[in-house]
């Protein structure tokens, strides 16, 4: 009891000199950025700013369609966006059809250099002011993605924490581990109409945060 009292006294003395040093940091209400797809917004409530969001799935699962939709929505709302393109696969022609405003998009082509992609992402996050930064690891083999050291993700999480930026990681397998605030798993199934590819029907499975109400959603990406 005596020890507890003296601790309180000690804290009171220090608090008078150092202000709110012992106050718990209150987290403000989370702001979100819409993905531009109502089904996913209903499922996740939008992608939280100041956090990492991860979207993963195999090839043709709809990751790029979702990325285009996010970029189109963000650029239409005057957000400054950046795409760190690890394997140089961003297709401007398809992106234009999706409605992305290129005047607000910074495209960084890393030509397969994973280390450069991570360093570039780090520089962008430290610059601040970007509304949406996408790190595209979609064509990085799962074996290589698993080798990415965790400290990168912790560093990104810490950097982006107090900024209005949404850092979205697109990959083939989940790799951000516990650092992502939202994790979505995508799976696609092509729908053909006669001899024509009509759309890719995509199912979205929310893995993080875990919700007892809704885990899954579906949307379609039209062939343009």
């Amino acid at each position: 009891m005596r020890a507890a009292v003296s601790k309180v006294e000690l804290e009171a003395n220090i608090a008078s000199r150092f202000g709110d040093a012992f106050k718990l940091h209150e987290k403000s209400a989370v702001e979100t950025l819409s993905t531009g797809i109502d089904e996913i917004d209903e499922l996740t409530g939008g992608l939280p700013r100041g956090s990492i969001s991860e979207i993963f799935g195999p090839a043709s699962s709809g990751r790029t369609s979702l990325m285009y939709s996010m970029l189109a929505y963000a650029t239409a709302h005057e957000e400054t966006c950046a795409v760190v393109d690890t394997n140089d696969v961003f297709a401007p022609t398809a992106a234009t059809a999706a409605g992305i405003d290129f005047d607000r998009l910074l495209w960084i082509r890393c030509t397969g250099n994973l280390e450069s992609a991570f360093k570039a992402t780090d520089l962008l996050l430290h610059a601040g002011g970007f509304g949406l930064v996408i790190l595209d690891l979609g064509d990085v083999a799962g074996k290589e993605a698993r080798r990415i050291i965790s400290s990168w993700w912790y560093r990104f999480r810490r950097t982006v924490e107090d900024r209005p930026t949404v850092l979205t990681v697109i990959s083939e397998e989940a790799c951000t581990r516990s650092c992502a605030a939202v994790t979505l798993e995508l799976n696609g199934a092509a729908e053909w109409s006669g001899n024509l590819l009509r759309q890719n029907s995509i199912s979205v499975n929310r893995q993080r945060p875990i919700s007892p109400w809704q885990h899954e959603s579906h949307f379609g990406a039209m062939a343009c």
């Binding site: 699962s61 002011g129 343009c224």
Partner: protein
């Protein structure tokens, strides 16, 4: 006291203003061949006003190499700049007008010689007043000056009063000093050649600090920095940094210069450094309350420079589609923050479009370069695709196919293209993936262009 120098025969390539700066820093350029200088405080340098006037007249006759203007000039010294201008313009040689005795010297001048532009009067108004004076029988400065002030004010107004004071040599005004054009350039000759970047950075820092201080003094900024390094092998290394926005932060400039020097290092040791900039008005921007934050311009420039160093200058920027139907035709332009005037309108339209369409487009991942493929076909329809590259491999049985779509273009050029495109679903290990493959008609070669995602 003021001294007026009038030299109607000065050669056109010589400047009387530059000559006058040799005597006083306070110089008013009245006309092309007439200047007035404030000589208060010049006694210690040139002696009395008489000595100064003599010095002015003597030095003016010297050659340009000796600081003269190679011509005879008239010099007048008076307590009033306008009286000095009139005296120097119409009296040759050296004239000294004693304070309070201006009319003794100027009184006999015709009123037609009044330089009304000195009191900022329009020619039309001045001509009317001079005509009135002529009708009144007023011919000289002395006669005009002797008229009662109240009567002149009543009949000729405030302009008439100003002209009367001008004729009497009693106007009161400050000289309209002509400032020498500021030069935003700094240079330094080095005693020893510098081969490394680190010691050079201290030189850059010093010069940039001085340059930015000069810009700051004139409330200006710059959007272009030019650096010129003289090298030990007698060559010159020149770099030009173009900034999208005017700035004047020497720390940002230093970092940009160093990043540029790392990417484009000089080929030999540096013996002298010169930096100059193009002064422009600083950027004034009012951000909207509801406009999302954008990166700070100086931070963005630094980040772009660092990214360019990391991935190469050609691999960073905003994509721009080229005006052609050639597949994957684009260019990268420099990324700048754009403030569009119709942003709010566009945002509303964008919202509506998203709300109406509400279905995203199918994404496409482009393989650069496209993967060369071996395709087995049955009666022209692909049945099996195999392709291997450094980073990826594509193979599988075709389970669904759409096409072909033939595209051709640029037939008049050597790099024309003609191909048949197919959309295929490949199955491998139970996993189905959508690809776009094409056959080049010229070489009959198959390629995998990318996959739908």
């Amino acid at each position: 006291m003021f001294a007026c120098i009038h030299g109607p025969q000065i050669p056109a390539d010589l400047s009387l203003t530059e000559f006058a700066y040799g005597f006083s820093p306070v110089v008013e350029e009245v006309r092309e061949r007439t200047v007035v200088i404030d000589v208060d405080g010049c006694e210690l340098l040139f002696g009395s006003a008489y000595q100064l006037a003599s010095e002015l007249a003597q030095r003016a006759q010297k050659s340009r190499a000796d600081g003269g203007v190679e011509s005879t000039v008239s010099v007048a010294i008076a307590a009033n700049p306008d009286a000095a201008i009139h005296a120097a313009t119409y009296l040759k040689g050296i004239t000294f007008v004693s304070p309070g005795e201006e009319l003794t010297c100027l009184g006999d001048f015709s009123v037609e010689r009044l330089d009304y532009s000195l009191v900022e009067t329009e020619k039309k108004v001045a001509d009317e007043i001079l005509e009135t004076l002529r009708l009144w029988g007023i011919r000289t400065f002395a006669e005009f000056a002797s008229l009662p002030v109240a009567g002149v004010s009543e009949r000729l107004g405030q302009v008439g009063l100003k002209l009367q004071q001008l004729a009497a040599g009693k106007t009161e005004r400050h000289l309209k000093v002509k400032q020498p054009a500021p030069v935003f350039a700094q240079s330094l000759e080095l005693e020893h050649a510098l081969a490394e970047l680190e010691p050079l950075s201290f030189i850059f820092a010093r010069l940039l600090h001085q340059l930015c201080a000069a810009l700051n003094a004139y409330a200006l900024a710059t959007n272009e920095l030019c650096i010129r390094l003289q090298l030990e092998d007698q060559t010159t290394h020149e770099r030009k940094l173009s900034l999208p926005y005017p700035m004047r932060d020497h720390k940002v400039f230093l970092k940009l210069l160093l990043l540029d020097a790392e990417m484009h290092p000089p080929q030999a040791a540096v013996t002298s450094v010169a930096i100059n900039c193009e002064p422009v008005k600083p950027r004034v921007l009012q951000n909207g309350l509801f406009v999302p934050l954008a990166p700070a311009p100086d931070k963005l420039e630094l980040t772009l420079a660092r990214l360019a160093k990391l991935v190469g200058e050609d691999n960073i920027g905003s994509p721009t589609l080229l005006d052609t139907h050639r597949p994957d035709a684009f260019s990268l332009k420099r990324f700048t923050l754009v403030t569009k005037p119709d942003a709010r309108k566009r945002r509303k339209t964008g919202n509506r479009q998203l709300a109406i369409g509400n279905q995203p487009c199918l994404g496409f991942r482009m393989f650069r370069p496209p993967l060369r493929a071996i395709v087995q076909a049955d009666q022209g329809w692909p049945t099996q695709v195999s392709a291997w590259g450094k980073q990826r491999s594509v193979y599988g049985k075709v389970v669904k196919v759409a096409g072909p779509w033939r595209t051709t273009g640029d037939w008049w050029r050597d790099d024309r293209w003609a191909r048949d495109e197919w959309d295929v679903t490949l199955e491998r290990g139970g996993q189905q993936t959508l690809y776009r493959i094409y056959r080049e008609l010229k070489t009959e070669t198959w390629f995998v262009e990318g996959n739908y995602d």
